[in-house]
Amino acid sequence: MMLPARAHILMFCCAALTVAGAMFAQPCRGQVVSPGTLVSGAKEFDGKEVVVEGEVIGDVMVRGPYAWVNVLDAGVAIGAWVPVAQTRDIVATGSYRAQGDRVRIAGVFHRVCPEHGGDMDIHAQACTKVAAGAARRRAVDQEKKKLALRLSGIVVLLWIFSRLKNR
């Protein structure tokens, strides 16, 4: 029995999608992975080109023509060895007072980097800012303020009471 032409097209599309899916399922260039995935699946990604996205935390530590940029996503941070020229766009870094810039780093992942004493790291080929960080405005918590004031009243009363008793 001959299949209609539409069925052939459908089957071809399915096959193409399967092949494409299989290709993207492998850790390879261009796939965005989280630092947590890299750390937990380090063997699988070792020596491969990866793309990591995350918030820059702490200091950008410049060492000659390169800099260490620590990138945090979903609670796990990893260090990336980035050419200094590509870190110039990084303005805000994550701390109590600021949400750091979000960067996308493409580079080679090392489970054990021989150049850096065996650290798990990424040697970046490209580092681009995908979202700007911002200062975190934290309003004074009024409930805490009230609690602190009330407690200070009790402390003062207790102190006065103890002084009077001593006399």
């Binding site: 530590m61 609670g75 941070a77 701390s95 109590y96 004493g117 798990m120 934290r138």
Partner: protein
């Protein structure tokens, strides 16, 4: 017949606890100051609340339980055991208010881990924690390393006899100077001098490594406090890996070893007796156990073929081993790498190192070198007795500041404490297994908690069962105080309920 404790016992205990709680309130002024400098107003309020609660309870306890009586042995031990529990609760208040911990139990875990200089952590989003809170985490480690009671002794306690009982209760049975209050002050002097030197060294290493000046010295101070007090907290979630610096690793290793040395030995070195370091049984034993445990870890890592170069293998393996042996817990590998990349032999090497610990009267936990040295000497003495003719008199001595002849009582005490630690490690491991964790990782984490180390293979996290968190808290507490004061407290509670 068990005697019920008198009202006077409770009053003395309450009075001294009140003093210690007020001491904690005074200590909280330091993170408050850091918060003001950094203009972190909500954390400042957290400390205001913490200070006020501590002052209220401390003043009430002092007033209600006022007494001029001095402590007896039992009361001294109980004050010490309870001081660590109340310190855990009161120092947890400001951290709890920060919202960086999932539950109050998690904060209590954090503060007990800090005071006991363990370094296992439950904090969420550490990389965005306020400077004030980060400083407090490290400061409680610094205070816990010297001993909570040591502060009280230095500042608040006048009677030398009661002071000595509290000093002994905090697992420090060696007096450096004839007067225990002078001993406490000497311990603080050593720690503060090293704090300045260590902060400068780590701060300069941070500057050379590209950190901003304030951060370099702030991190330097925090990392020094955690390293010298063999604690292991770090200001960033990646621990020492954050710095990506060999120089930082070398400096922290030196500081960790300094923290693992007996304060009595520090005293002799300060007074110009460098030969003592070569002759002392503790340093000799430490040297031998480092060699032996590193042989296991190194061979394991070589078998696992994870590190392609010998130098890289040495850097990673030796750092984690020294961190474990000194009871610090700094990591330059991720927790999951211990189980994923290291083989069982390498892990066993680190577990043995964690179980052994550093010197007595230092800031470390675990079994300690003097006991290992004494047990080894006693074993050799017994072997000699078997080999030599029956009439031969076999005497064994060891050098610890002075020459000491080994006797059965010393060997028995060393063995019983060692056995108690091994039971504590095993008990925690069994509870871990009951919660469904594999044997080796349960043993690793349990030894880390009870030996006050802080290395983690990934079990310790906010999502772990509450029962296991409580188990580790008790292990950290009992391990740090070396059982005696904790057992005395247990006896006191039993006699309160069942006594006549």
């Amino acid at each position: 017949m068990i005697l019920k404790p008198s009202l006077q016992d409770f009053r003395i205990i309450g009075y001294y606890l009140g003093k210690i709680i007020i001491g904690l309130a005074v200590l909280m002024l330091l993170p408050l100051l850091i918060g003001l400098i950094r203009r972190e107003f909500n954390p400042c309020l957290d400390y205001c609340v913490g200070i006020e609660v501590a002052l209220i309870i401390g003043m009430l306890l002092k007033k209600i339980c006022y007494t001029e009586a001095d402590l007896n042995w039992m009361e001294g031990m109980i004050v010490v055991a309870l001081a660590w529990v109340v310190a855990m609760f009161f120092s947890a208040i400001p951290l709890w208010l920060s919202g960086h911990w999932q539950s109050f139990l998690d904060v209590c875990f954090e503060t007990m881990s800090g005071f006991a200089t363990t370094g296992l952590t439950m904090v969420q989003d550490l990389d965005h924690l306020a400077y004030a809170h980060n400083f407090w985490r490290h400061l409680i480690m610094f205070v816990g390393g010297q001993g909570i009671v040591i502060i009280a002794l230095s500042l608040f306690v006048k009677g030398a006899s009661g002071a000595f009982k509290m000093y002994v209760g905090e697992a420090r049975d060696e007096k450096i100077l004839p007067n225990v209050i002078h001993t406490s002050r000497f311990i603080w002097l050593v720690s503060l001098v090293f704090l300045v030197m260590g902060t400068l060294a780590l701060g300069i290493a941070g500057l050379l490594g590209g950190m901003k000046p304030f951060n370099a010295f702030f991190h330097g101070a925090c990392i020094f406090m955690a390293a010298f007090d063999t604690g292991g907290f770090a200001p960033q979630s990646q621990s020492v890996l954050y710095y990506h610096s060999g120089l930082y690793e070398v400096i922290t290793m030196v500081v960790m070893i300094l923290g693992a040395i007996n304060f009595k030995l520090h005293y002799h070195l300060w007074n110009g007796h460098p030969r003592e370091i070569v002759r002392n049984i503790e340093t000799r034993t430490l040297f031998v156990t480092i060699l032996l445990t590193f042989a296991l870890t190194g061979f394991g890592l070589w078998q696992a073929r994870i590190y392609p170069q010998a130098m890289v293998m040495f850097r990673k393996g030796f750092y984690q081993l020294i961190s474990g042996h000194t009871g610090t817990g700094f990591q330059t590998v991720y927790a999951s790498q211990f189980l994923g990349d290291w083989n069982d032999l390498a892990l066993v090497g680190v577990i043995c190192a964690m179980a052994l610990g550093g010197a007595a009267c230092s800031t470390t936990g675990a079994i300690k070198m003097i006991r290992i040295g004494i047990i080894a000497k006693a074993l050799m003495q017994d072997i000699k007795k078997i080999i030599l003719p029956e009439r031969a008199l076999v005497m064994k001595k060891y050098h610890h500041i002075k020459d000491v002849f080994l006797n059965d009582s010393m060997a028995r005490t060393a063995l019983s404490i060692t056995l108690a630690y091994i039971l504590l490690y095993g008990l925690g491991a069994i509870i871990g297994i009951l919660y469904g964790y594999p044997f080796l990782s349960s043993l690793f984490e349990s030894t880390s908690a009870a030996g006050n180390v802080g290395l983690s293979c990934g079990i310790t996290q906010a999502s772990m069962p509450a029962g296991l968190k409580i188990t580790y808290i008790v292990q950290m507490w009992a391990g740090r105080l070396e059982f005696m004061s904790v057992l005395t407290l247990a006896g006191f509670l039993v006699s309160t309920v069942r006594g006549k």
